[in-house]
């Protein structure tokens, strides 16, 4: 394949897969656009490296979604490490009085990083607890607990809002 043909083939693959990858990351980031755009860019930068290294057959949608998920997990783990250093984690949300999906997303974005990660992997990826535990380097019990806490917090936030 000539360089020009290789470039065009890569961009064609990008055009065919980018909407799905970006949509996945937007859902997994609960609509947080800046973070989803950053992670999409990182995912396709990894794809470009793989492509130029002769591994172009590897750059398929399932592979890209796996890379995107790993980048998402890395991001939340990094945020979690930073949050550990705070006496009171600043994951406060802005007050909102909307009773719509956008408000639910806002509440999800206000959760601590690990709880957000669990919500994304369980509700967007539909992964079993054991797989979420493997990705987040935690025990299955810890994942259950994180999910329970996240749901309880979200329930409280949404109920408060409804009052």
């Amino acid at each position: 394949m000539t360089d020009r043909a290789g470039r065009e083939a890569f961009l064609e693959r990008y055009r065919a897969t980018q909407p799905a990858v970006h949509a996945y990351l937007l859902r997994a980031c609960a609509g947080e656009r800046g973070r989803a755009e950053d992670l999409t860019q990182e995912t396709f930068s990894a794809a470009l490296v793989a492509w130029c290294d002769g591994r172009n057959e590897q750059v398929t949608l399932p592979w890209l979604l796996t890379v995107a998920r790993n980048k998402l997990v890395d991001e939340y783990r990094k945020l979690d490490r930073e949050a550990q250093r705070l006496p009171n984690a600043p994951w406060a949300r802005e007050q909102s009085h909307r009773d719509d999906p956008a408000h639910v997303l806002e509440c999800i974005r206000a959760l601590p990083p690990m709880q957000r990660a669990v919500i994304a992997l369980r509700f967007v990826d539909d992964l079993p607890v054991a797989e979420v535990a493997r990705l987040l380097h935690k025990r299955a019990g810890a994942i259950d607990s994180l999910q329970r806490r996240a749901l309880a917090t979200l329930r409280t936030m949404l109920e408060e809002n409804a009052q």
């Binding site: 360089d3 290789g6 470039r7 890569f10 961009l11 990008y14 055009r15 980018q18 909407p19 970006h22 949509a23 996945y24 937007l26 859902r27 997994a28 980031c29 609960a30 609509g31 656009r33 800046g34 973070r35 989803a36 755009e37 950053d38 999409t40 860019q41 396709f44 930068s45 470009l48 490296v49 130029c52 290294d53 002769g54 490490r81 930073e82 949050a83 250093r85 705070l86 600043p90 802005e94 999906p101 956008a102 639910v104 997303l105 999800i108 919500i119 994304a120 509700f123 967007v124 749901l151 979200l154 329930r155 949404l158």
Partner: protein, 328 residues
């Protein structure tokens, strides 16, 4: 029930995608591919080393380019054409990281300072990670807090202005801001914290750089637009067709930075609170190509509508200054 609500909300979370993001990233990847491929060819031709080596060489070259400050800047002029590009990609985030690292490297440290373990940056405010980078370093300085503080203030880096000071227990802190800021940046500062550590001082420096998100290509005013209609509440509308006024408003629109996400504190008071609208069109009777609505109050956000689509909000200070003069 809550699970269903969550699932439903997340399923629709991709509705907030910026339509232009796909094209922006494609342009960036294409430029990256060109950079990688051109250099790979050069390496292949000269040494016939395997492709993997070529990539390693490119990595080194790219690192050097970053250190030398070569970047990718693509700007669209009034006629919609991209006017200046270079070939090595450096994202705004990488440029901000380089600036943050430079702010720390340029600190004139007191004599005898030795590197210490730096704490991870702590997100005290609601800094948007998509437009903010932070970097920290720490040192142990063999002198008292007061002496170290005096030394640092006496040897402040060129271009840095101390804008805030404070005390923390037995320690001291101050913040220095880079002034003037390079184009495209909203803030570049270093927080220095000095705490007693036995007979010495523990010095921590955190550099923080915030940049304005790049303007989307679609958010520019087409060259055919020669008429601006300004509106302010009950004071009605004024139509401008003279080139100096129209060009000035277009230039102000083009140079307005994209508003930052997150929570920012802005003065809410205004002498003339209200909302102004600017419509840019090809003729007085033509449908406007771009409609800008500026709120005189708060952060002076300017909502932008290009055709039938909303574009990212801008900071409208300069446009507001001009349009106020039309009505008051």
């Amino acid at each position: 029930m809550i699970e269903e609500q969550i699932r439903d909300a997340l399923q629709h979370a991709d509705a907030g995608a910026r339509p232009e993001f796909g094209a922006e990233l494609e342009a960036r990847l294409a430029a990256e591919y060109d950079g990688v491929d051109g250099m790979a060819d050069l390496v292949d031709m000269t040494s016939r080393r395997p492709r993997r080596w070529a990539l390693a060489t490119i990595g080194i070259a790219a690192t050097l380019a970053v250190l030398l400050g070569v970047g990718l800047f693509a700007r669209t002029s009034n006629d919609g054409s991209v006017t200046a590009t270079t070939t090595v990609t450096r994202t705004p985030k990488q440029q901000a990281q380089a600036l943050a690292a430079k702010l720390l490297d340029d600190l004139a440290l007191p004599p005898g300072a030795v590197a210490a373990k730096a704490p991870l940056p702590v997100n005290f405010g609601r800094l948007d990670p998509s437009t903010t980078v932070r970097a920290t370093k720490a040192w142990l300085v063999p002198m008292s807090v007061a002496d170290a503080d005096a030394y640092l203030r006496a040897h402040s880096t060129s271009g840095m202005k101390v804008t805030a000071t404070g005390t923390i227990g037995g320690g001291k802190s101050f913040t220095a801001d880079l002034h003037p800021l390079p184009d495209g940046y909203a803030a570049a500062s270093v927080d220095l914290v000095l705490e007693p550590a036995g007979n010495a001082t523990h010095l921590t420096a955190e550099a923080r750089v915030i940049w304005y998100p790049p303007r989307p290509l679609a958010e520019h005013i087409p060259a055919r637009d020669k008429v601006v209609t300004a509106t302010f509440g009950s004071k009605g509308s004024k139509v401008f067709t003279d080139a100096p006024t129209v060009n000035k408003l277009i230039a102000q629109f083009e140079s307005s930075p994209t508003a930052l996400d997150g929570v920012h504190s802005c003065p809410s008071l205004s002498l003339h609170p209200g909302m102004y609208t600017l419509k840019f069109a090809a003729s007085p009777s033509a449908r406007p190509d771009v409609v800008v609505t500026i709120v005189d109050g708060g952060c002076r956000g300017a909502r932008v509508r290009v055709g039938a689509h909303d574009a990212p909000v801008l900071y409208g200070y300069s446009m507001l200054e001009a349009v106020r003069g039309f009505f008051h």
